[in-house]
Assembly symmetry: C2
Homo-oligomer: 339 residues x 2
């Protein structure tokens, strides 16, 4: 039987390296019979291909997680219960030591793309002779090359080790910039795709950030001001809200009950009409159907920052809610991070 159909539309192999061999070895050694696989949306098309490869090489049955996956914070725990091993693809390990995640293998997707050229290009925009180097899991295996390319331009690249949520030195997540903040530098070089992470670095550290995208070869100075303006706009629009929902995520790495209870108490103390809502996906309909006037999101901090436009009411992070209530007097914008 020809099963090639699934591979025809998938070009992910050209861009990414998965260590499928390691996964296959682990499956064989553990004698796992039912394997779950979970991939982020950008790689979803690869899931049937990976399923086929595993089935061909191991004779295990593969079940694909069909729900969207947004990060290592978002392990499919339901699938995990029904399989012998869950292969979570595209993110580095998080929540290390959680016994519920014993069965999860993290299979990173490493980008096969040169970084040297774009780093050399970025060097001309850097003002300091000593900069913090940060990247995402897709490029962390190139960190030595980044440092080397900087050195050739007379710049010292510093790499921070980050906190518990981070697997690699120099790695940042949408929700955690410890690997940047721990460095005593005035400027950062971010190597990776998109502005999601470098804006986070700029907001979290308040320092100058140059972003170098090795896929598009684009190099830009990050300007966090439009984001900061939008966030103060959301806070201002929430001023008159009385009916406020505090949202708690079901996703294992985004579940912050303590933060949520703290926000409930703060809201009630300030005469707001608070409800506590537990949910998996934060869809606009939830807020519409519940009739709330604003929401405080204790899930992924980037939901409020990046997806505000899709919600019918202001969606605030916990620090923003504290600003709204006058409970926080910081002069600077405080980025919500998960430790």
């Amino acid at each position: 039987m020809d099963k090639a159909g699934w591979t025809s539309g998938f070009s992910g192999q050209d861009l990414f390296d998965f260590d499928l061999k390691m996964a296959v070895n682990l499956i064989e050694k553990s004698r796992a019979k039912v394997i779950g696989i979970q991939v982020p949306e950008g790689l979803k098309r690869a899931a049937p291909f990976i399923a086929r490869e595993i089935e061909k090489r191991t004779n295990a049955t593969v079940v694909i997680s069909g729900d969207p996956c947004y990060g290592a914070c978002d392990v499919d725990m339901e699938l995990c219960k029904d399989v012998d091993l869950l292969i979570h693809i595209g993110h580095s390990e998080m929540l290390i030591g959680d016994p519920e995640l014993d069965r999860v293998i993290y299979l990173e997707a490493r980008m096969k793309v040169d970084v040297k050229e774009v780093v050399t290009k970025a060097a001309s925009l850097l003002k300091s002779k000593r900069v913090g180097v940060i990247t995402t899991v897709q490029h962390h295996h190139k960190i030595d090359e980044i440092i080397e390319a900087l050195r050739e331009r007379g710049i010292e690249g510093m790499v921070g080790s980050g906190g518990e949520r981070l697997r690699y030195p120099g790695q940042v997540l949408g929700c955690n910039y410890d690997a940047a903040k721990c460095l005593d530098v005035d400027e950062y070089l971010f190597v990776g795709t998109g502005k999601f992470h470098p804006i986070g670095v700029a907001l979290s550290t308040g320092k100058r950030v140059i972003a170098a995208d090795p896929v598009s070869s684009e190099v830009v100075l990050i300007d966090p001001d439009p984001m900061i303006k939008r966030r103060y706009g959301a806070i201002a629009r929430a001023m008159d809200a009385r009916k406020i929902a505090v949202l708690v995520s079901k996703k294992p790495g985004q579940k912050r009950w303590n933060e949520a209870h703290k926000m409930m108490d703060l809201g009630e103390k300030n005469d707001k009409d608070m409800i506590l809502v537990y949910l998996d996906r934060i869809e606009p309909d939830v807020l519409i159907n519940l009739g709330v006037e604003a929401a405080v999101c204790t899930a992924c901090p980037r939901i409020a920052l990046d997806d505000q436009a899709k919600y019918p009411v202001p969606m605030l992070t916990p620090p923003e809610f504290e600003i709204l209530l006058g409970e926080c007097v910081s002069k600077n914008y405080i980025l919500d991070e998960i430790k």
Copy 2:
């Protein structure tokens, strides 16, 4: 502190009876401290109001389930784990005896609407002197009134007891018509809102069905033919599909692994390129991102029947997939039901 805000927009109290007192008694007796509440989308606006009432009367903390809820098959198991009691509103008990559901209280929403007038009106459309009477949980408490109104018009109303998924005699679900099929009658009277259930009765029994809607006072003869045509259309469009996903739901009352494995085997036997996908919500994006050409849905049977238009590829029920593969030779359309 005035918390009346939440009740202002909610008119559900006029239409529905909830036995909140019973719930409050149970909370007090069990000394539960954290209470979850889960309501279907149509009653979501009532959730904050119910939360307030429980908090006022018991001092327990209430957490609202924010994800959509489609029936008693769709109990929020994640929320259940984090609370002492989960109050599931608007549906009758299902999955009786499941130890994981020990903590769930089902609080039915009974519609406060007269049925006599619409049943009398429907009687003139009935051809038989002995008809099966069927309804949904919102109206089951009126079943004696329905029988009485029929008797006054010289018609005997028969009530079937249904199977394990059903709590009340005469009750049907979108996925189960045992309470209709067990009766030896040629005609049915359905009392309730919408055409979702009466079309199911017509498809399941192949008999004449009159639907009487006590809210709109509308009485109609149900014509299942357009639905049957649409379904054979979907089967025909799936003819050339090779890459096919079998979907398994995470929802406790919709999870049919055995059915899914049977469909996988049937597909593979017939040279289809099958993948097995486990998911909570069956969104069109799942099928687009995975690149499938057709899907077999082992979750709620009504997803294929009622929501086909929103999916980019044919979505078949298991019996429809058997028709596609020539594995089923029934002359009549076979409705997928969950026992």
